[in-house]
Symmetry: C2
Subunit: 491 residues, 2 copies
């Protein structure tokens, strides 16, 4: 089997695909635009999901489940929303197949046409707010803090594994509040939950900011986001949290009686992250030898490979390894002992390197005599010979070092790739050179933003939170500006 | 608010709906046949899912995720399969909406018609076996042991919350093996996993058996099942595990080279349980006061309600309760302290009774003086006054007693409702009387089975595993029979 990976410098996009496919994360499927998430990729998603789910519950949210299908008329009730999603949705029109009487095989039964078409959810605001109408009567029913883990479908023409697929997995939080202030507080709280998750678990540094009107979610008053930087200098939106104002409450007539017994429309938020995060994770840390996964979410943290000739050597190694495994498990470290004889140690080394397992331990007969093992780090490819005595604790510490190192490395890269420019010439030079985020003044209009996008393919990724105020002039129009915003080419 | 529940004796079906709706488990949705699973119901599903997922992983399975959509032609490749699912499937025919140029609002864009229709998965054998074709080449790739947690859609005309909905949540295991023996062993292993889960977690006794040809899964060689008995004497199929032979391997041309380097078709199994289990759980244990949930899967095991007048009494109670809560949490018991002042204690008692919380602890000012608390069991409605000293441990033991009691009670009921009959007259009498399972001889033909169903609405639920062999004659035709089978009217 060929496990050769295209180098980043040769073809970044092919490098990415190689990692996803050969690393065993996902596969193409027979359905255009839809992917198969393979066991290793799904284990990674489960690890990420479990951390997020715990954080959602710690902040008072409960999970629920709403229908996959949305009546067409619901989608149309919020004007910006239908505008945003109509062009890319899967439409169910019939509910039965039958045998073609003319011998054409199995065909759609024209008599089983739905009265109203159903849309496979691209997001669930409409069906959820239609439900909340029945659940919310009084201020006592608020806040309503609900999250859903689900599959959604957006009919994309050009797809990339994890980054952009017709069907993807995600979570969508949908909350209802009595006041605008509370809803805004929720929106920023969840943005911070995402940022904390990205930085402390995925080891991916992110910029927290707010989107411009052009890049806002269809139906939102404000869209907050976290933006990450990939190794090719392109940005990736890693999570969004929307303040929806009263738009959906008005569209679905969701009112509550306040403490003064007056009817008011409810204030809303929604927030989500998806399997797209996996694409970002890959592109931030991995290298030309394969995936590099941060220990806190790696499906497997440690692999142990024995090197031996004959049963006697094997038995000696097994005895020591079994103790080590028990010690590691006691410390909560996930570990696999790969003593299969199908493959040679060198093949195994390459395989686990490809899969991004953070720590590899190799133990040979001579090592046993010396009471040591060879410990190799995936992140910086260093190796050390360490005593078996106390090794489990050392490994646990090492995993934490690796986690920190990955974050620090990614943060240095990201920080080196935020460039302040004051002219459009410099702006273009940076984009075509080192790329990354470009911090520049902009006149605040959608027209200028679109013009810059047209000329450079760069979009405003966000206006950073707590952005310093500074007098300046727009790089394109020369009109006055009060703050810099972050531009980048993006996924 | 009215939390009145219809009595089982008055209208069993209405009693069931009352429990689901007023117990906060699920709600109807705006989409015909689809339900909303509310937070309390979803927490119950999560508890069930977590146990099952652990058991699947312990038996060597990994999770993965396959596309929601299945090309129409795939569904047609296995003859029995398309026959079984064609009549009830949601068909996606278009991928875009647009504004009607004639002012008819948002309509399906006729130019965005799919070349081939996509079916929303009713089950995933076809898309998965089409994928396995690329994953399996050699005997070294086998067994392949994969599970998927997913939503599926079967277009049902008459729906019941949890029991029969157009969309439902489930897991589907799909495994590939080198030999028929291994695949059969997997099929029965997973049947036993389901039975163990039903009995030890849901406290629902089940009969393990095999389906007759009439009741087999569309595409299976053999369908194994677990069957449970509801309080109205009707049976409910609670899980199925299918030995698929080489049917799907042949339909999708999945072959492997064996150790002798010869090509063979792969042997398959699939197995699943769904949110339907929640319907069964409700109907086995609950009573006219509300839900009764077994402690091992109850989202909340213990609720504590303070009874006080004034802040000073409250503070005294709080102090003791905080210690108790800490002790319970240390033992892994989930507990909620409901000290909200929105509702009176009596209202709270009724509410948690409705929700089936296994243990309720009430503590008043006098109790604190005496160092005791009142502990009420949901299952048998008994109350005891117990010392606060050592109470957490006592509660933990009590939860185990409740778990056992629920199982024993359900098992006694079930065992009393298995009736052996030898004539068709008796058969009908039992069905129209105490109902339950009827153990009777049958001549082994599909015609007789269908005739009996037509005459009585009873179906053969299963041929129990390890069924004693016994000479007899068919209750309908008088033809010879070698074993009894279990009939029942069923959900």
């Amino acid at each position: 089997m060929s496990k050769e990976i295209t180098a980043r410098s040769a073809d970044y996009s092919q490098w990415y695909n190689d990692l996803v496919l050969k690393g065993g994360l996902a596969d193409y499927s027979a359905v255009k635009g839809c992917m198969v998430i393979k066991p290793y990729g799904f284990a990674l998603w489960e690890a990420m999901r479990d951390v997020l789910d715990r954080k959602f519950k710690e902040t008072g949210h409960q999970n629920a489940y709403f229908p996959l299908f949305i009546p067409k008329s619901f989608l149309s009730k919020e004007a910006a929303h239908i505008e945003g999603f109509a062009k890319e949705c899967a439409v169910v029109t019939h509910y039965r197949l039958k045998n073609d009487p003319n011998g054409g095989g199995v065909v759609v039964d024209p008599e089983a046409k739905l009265e109203e078409e159903l849309i496979v959810r691209p997001t669930s605001e409409t069906i959820i707010w239609n439900t909340y109408k029945d659940w919310i009567q009084s201020y006592r029913d608020l806040p309503l803090l609900i999250n859903q883990w689900a599959n959604v479908v957006r009919w994309e023409m050009r797809t990339r594994l994890f980054l952009r697929t017709a069907e993807f997995l995600w979570q969508e939080g949908h909350t209802a509040h009595a006041t605008a202030e509370e809803a805004v507080a929720e929106t920023t709280q969840m943005l911070n939950v995402y940022a904390d998750f990205a930085e402390h678990y995925m080891a991916v540094p992110v910029v927290r900011g707010v989107k411009t009107a052009n890049e806002r979610f269809a139906g939102a008053v404000d869209t907050y986001c976290i933006e990450a930087l990939m190794q090719d200098g392109k940005a990736l939106q890693a999570g969004t949290s929307h303040f929806l104002g009263q738009n959906f409450a008005k569209a679905f007539n969701v009112q509550f009686s306040n403490k003064e017994n007056k009817l008011e429309y409810v204030w809303a938020t929604s927030w989500g992250v998806s399997t797209r995060l996996i694409g970002g994770l890959i592109m931030v840390h991995s290298d030309d030898q394969g995936l590099v996964l941060p220990p806190r979410i790696a499906p497997l943290q440690v692999v142990i490979v024995p090197i031996f000739k004959g049963e006697e050597q094997k038995a000696n190694i097994d005895a020591k390894v079994n103790t080590l495994i028990a010690d590691l498990k006691k410390l909560g470290v996930s570990v696999k002992y790969d003593d299969s004889d199908n493959n040679r140690p060198g093949w195994k080394f390459a395989e686990y390197e490809m899969k991004g397992v953070p720590v590899r331990i190799a133990i040979g007969a001579r090592d046993i005599e010396n009471g040591v093992a060879e410990v190799a780090r995936r992140d910086n490819k260093t190796k050390e010979t360490l005593p078996l005595e106390g090794l489990a604790q050392r490994i646990q510490d090492l995993l934490e070092e690796i986690q920190q190192n990955l974050f620090n490395k990614a943060k240095s890269y990201r920080d080196e790739h935020i460039t302040r420019v004051d002219t459009f010439e410099e702006f273009k030079q940076v984009l075509d050179g080192k790329a990354g985020f470009v911090s520049a003044h902009w006149d605040g209009t959608s027209e200028t933003e679109e013009k810059i996008k047209e000329l450079t393919k760069a979009t405003i990724r966000c206006i950073p939170l707590n952005n310093p105020q500074e007098e300046g002039v727009c790089i394109l129009t020369g009109k006055p500006s009060k703050e810099r915003v972050l531009f980048a080419r993006a996924y």
